[in-house]
Symmetry: none
Subunit: 256 residues, 2 copies
Amino acid sequence: MLAIERRNEILEKLQKEKRVVVSELSKAYGVTEETIRRDLEKLEKDGYVIKSYGGAVLNENMNIDMPFNIRKNTNVVGKQKIAELVNSMVKDGERLILDASSTAVFIAKMLKEEKRNLTIITNSIEIIIELFDAQDWRVLSTGGLAMEGSLALVGPQTDQMLRSYYVDKAIISCKGFDMENGITDSNELHARNKKTMLERSGCRILAVDSSKFGHTAFTNIGDLENISMIITDEKPEEKWLQLFDRYHVECVWPEE
Amino acid sequence: MLAIERRNEILEKLQKEKRVVVSELSKAYGVTEETIRRDLEKLEKDGYVIKSYGGAVLNENMNIDMPFNIRKNTNVVGKQKIAELVNSMVKDGERLILDASSTAVFIAKMLKEEKRNLTIITNSIEIIIELFDAQDWRVLSTGGLAMEGSLALVGPQTDQMLRSYYVDKAIISCKGFDMENGITDSNELHARNKKTMLERSGCRILAVDSSKFGHTAFTNIGDLENISMIITDEKPEEKWLQLFDRYHVECVWPEE
DNA sequence: GCCATATGTTAGCAATTGAGCGAAGAAATG
DNA sequence: CATTTCTTCGCTCAATTGCTAACATATGGC
């Protein structure tokens, strides 16, 4: 059994029974109590539980049960790699915009563990919840219309709020990117908000996994001129690199 | 039973009954009185209770700032009753403002089952998530600074967003309500937002359970002049009814 | 083989609890 | 009001249990 599987099961047990006991878990999984303690330690660090002598209870403050878990997490490994690269480019104390994409959720989680004193502006409910307990951070929600199915806030209200800020880095994702149609997204409202996000920073990072290259979605967000840097999960084909070069856009991917 | 569970239960009992007795708790949990005393000592150190000979009472100054998970589970019956009354006053298709209180979450849940085509404006993350799958509704988030511990969005951004709407009914709650100090809340930022919420509707409903009567929290939200109707969970004492009469504020409570 | 991660082992330390006892606080009594 | 009686409190000690930290040992990817 993998460690992460065990931790997930412990979490499930906690959701059901509100409490767990170290000694019981140790017997149930056939590992030492130390291992269980380390599991609980990690879960406590992530804000899911509160440890107590001999066991732990569920942290009900953070336990917002989502009505539907739309964790359609495709290409988790790729998004993880992208998150690491983004993390290496962000410095303590910076102000960032993050959009409502699943990649951005990975980035937020990674930053939470590594960075101090960040200011985050986002229209993603998932990110806001994820960062609710980030101690010395300022987390700003854009507001807007709650969009069914994507846990995002969208619309003119979102734009208006974004326009009253200027940040160090804007980090967005997209559904498609290709030669003729530039950066595209499947949803008009999302696209409009992302466009505004790009306007609110001098450093515009497109964090996008390689599967999006050569695809066109529905609405245009912008073109390469609007982008400062592309972060992706594997080295793009030569034709893309030439294109980026032509527009003086830096492209970064993980070293082998 | 874990120590933290026992302490949480004692805290909940205190919320309900305002007082606990050492000897009773000792018998109830099958531990020595000394252990209970140590529990109370810890709770006193954290500011939740005041010890006294033979037991302890709830620290009334503090009962409003209990951990969210304790507060959420207190007086559930009362909040449910209030939610039902609010529900009976809302019509399909209306536009409402809901604040970030635990009572408002109950109201949102009740409305979701009963009403169609509502427009909700709120600064409560919990409500937004609760209503994400409300099919024909429009749910608008105010945006603002994510406030740790209350799952609310607060600050000037919240106000600004609220000011661009006008709704049929504004429904808010509070931490205290008494003769001299009017409607009060424990948090400055929350109070300011609630004030703005009241300005955005001609029909201003104060949904507040009876335990808040005669208590003063920290900051003033407004006075009876700013309120159209009070909805509570049991018939208030005569002195309150006279006061409401004088200000022409209707007061509603469940029959019996 | 080397690095990272996960797990086990151990020894010393810390926290929780219960028991006993004298002191202090309430309550009853004259 | 003083005295007695009973309860509760605060303290210390001891036993138990759990915890921390450091080191050792797999395990698996590169």
